[in-house]
Symmetry: C2
Subunit: 360 residues, 2 copies
């Protein structure tokens, strides 16, 4: 289905020159100047909020952050070895069962508000810890970062994390968003659609790449190790995660914004910047060897790592942010809905006749 246009959209645009915009605003502009909440409102409602709209939106999210206790008990029934994305998918599905009769708009806001809380806790429960409660006095980025790390981040860390969340908000018809639209087209509710989106995001070809990228960087450890590592893996026919994109063939603009953020964050932290040098050399070597550019997942991963976020939370964080894009696409699908029911080309057998089992 590459190259087949299956929907009209006014939510985001990836232009032929590789530039990305949300609702007409260049991602670079939003990355440098906007808040996560402003961008989320923009994606959901189609325009940047004025002060009153923004305050209403923010307080609406704050008041819906808490997750019912029965959802934590439900998560506790899953084995301690469970994948955080499986836990998150089950928990979101469970919240959806409890909220199935709420008005659609209420479901949407509740989902977006609760995703960070569920993300923080799906990782904690894997580690055998008690549930952590959200704060209602800080923004989305600070709340999630605090829940994930258990410590109060400084304002630069919050700002850096918020930039990454903005980059993950929305990206046209990627596989999870497309899944959401297909489910939406059956007139199932937004929780059904988002549960399916999380299911798609678990796939290593989609959301799983940021975690795989980080483990690779840690395994390599030094800039000198990058080229030999890539040569060995490529000679074995292995896929290198965090590189390449369906659309961006020379540069992923989100990756470059994230790369710059990594440099600044490491400088802020005062270390030797080795992680940046490993990542940069990997990027350079991969381009030299294969002409494949680093993607967002590749450079978001070390930013999360520098913020002391557990690696298994990286894909769930992607889900928490992308849920905004999912909800927006869910609504756009319903506004001019037609059931997704594509055709297939039949290549199987014809006109066989049943014979009883004893005659086979």
């Amino acid at each position: 289905m590459y190259g087949v246009a299956v929907a009209e959209t006014a939510i985001s645009r990836i232009a032929a020159d590789g530039s990305l915009s949300y609702r007409g605003y260049a991602i670079k502009d939003l990355f440098e100047r906007a808040s996560f909440e402003e961008c989320a409102f923009l994606i959901l409602e189609g325009h940047l909020p004025n002060r009153e709209e923004l305050d209403t939106f923010v307080s609406g999210l704050h008041s819906r952050r808490k997750v019912p206790k029965n959802v934590y008990r439900l998560m506790e029934e899953l084995p301690p070895t469970s994948d955080p994305m499986d836990i998150l998918r089950t928990a979101v599905s469970g919240v959806g069962a409890a909220e199935a009769l709420l008005p659609a708009k209420e479901q949407e806001y509740s989902l977006i508000a609760k995703m960070p809380t569920l993300v923080a806790n799906c990782c904690r429960i894997v580690r055998g810890m008690d549930a952590v409660e959200p704060r209602d006095d800080v923004n989305e980025a600070e709340n999630l970062l605090h829940m994930l790390t258990g410590r109060r981040p400084d304002s630069f860390e919050v700002w850096a994390f918020e930039r990454e969340l903005i980059l993950y908000l929305e990206h046209d018809l990627n596989a999870s968003t497309f899944t959401v639209r297909v489910v939406a087209s059956t007139l199932a509710d937004v929780y059904a659609a988002s549960t399916a989106g999380i299911a798609a995001l678990k796939g290593p070809l989609h959301g799983g790449a940021n975690e795989a990228s980080m483990r690779m960087m840690l395994e390599i450890g030094s800039p000198e190790g990058a080229m030999p590592y890539l040569k060995e893996k490529l000679s074995q026919g292995r896929k290198i995660m965090g590189f390449g994109h369906r659309i961006y063939k020379t540069v992923d603009p989100r990756a470059q914004l994230s790369k710059d953020m990594l440099k600044r964050l490491l400088a802020h932290k005062g270390g030797d910047g080795r992680l940046y040098r490993v990542a940069e050399e990997l990027e350079r070597a991969m381009w030299e060897l294969k002409r494949i550019p680093a993607n967002l997942d590749f450079y978001a991963a070390p930013v999360f790592y520098a913020l002391s976020i557990p690696i298994e939370a990286y894909t769930p964080i992607f889900a928490a942010s992308r849920s905004v894009g999912w909800v927006s696409h869910f609504n756009e699908q319903l506004a001019a809905n037609k059931l997704f029911r594509p055709d297939s080309i039949y290549v199987g057998q014809h006109e066989l006749t049943y014979v009883p089992v004893e005659q086979r």
Copy 2:
């Protein structure tokens, strides 16, 4: 996406004349002569099983029917008002979390074997009853019918129910199966894909139609009521559930097989056949008014009703049977995988510039 071919398939075929076949065998042939287990094996493996293959397949299903206790406890955490499809989706997601590290083939057989048990119990838990355990000495149809109704069905009832399960097994790229293939294309596991399939099947435009059809027939109550009911609803612009199909424009062959089964089942039961006459008159009147044919959901519903199956179980039963088709499409997708990543047509705004909130 109507009319766009997005995959090659050898699993089922809906020919231009409206005939349906599974792996080259006409649905009518299988409906009259085959067992559910034979058809499931056929769909999964591509050929009808010999005796040894069938015995191995059947015992493999029997031994995997039981659902771990923690999954029942997980279901109990959902509110008593929950929709059975939401419970089923959450439970399947939870089983998937527990089985994420099993080999793919083991996951597939476990999923198919456990679906009926989960279906029977998602409805019981809604009604506040204890979990019912599967039997391991009877076929799929008898086991599920027994669990759903709490009584031992007679052999004709089992046979009738089995026919309906065969009709629901597989149907090319319907919305849930297409969802499964999109999720599979990210390399997520079969539980992730099937959870997404259940999410899609919840939609009233897809799986929910059999329940809506039954409630309509009960509301109408007599053949004379059919035409006035349809005229009133149609004049209000309401959609009549159980009619129409993306592909079958004059007759759904599965509906006609199911209609015949309804007649025979009601005769077997010895009632006055009123339910058949209501359904038949509804079908006739709808064709007269709108030239839209009854679909499978329309005639499966009264068969389930005549078997004393609770109405809220109808869509979950659809899911239990269709999970076989989902697994087969999951594997077919992976055998020649390419990530589903369609394009969109951007119709939104361009080149806007961010201004701070106080200036908006």
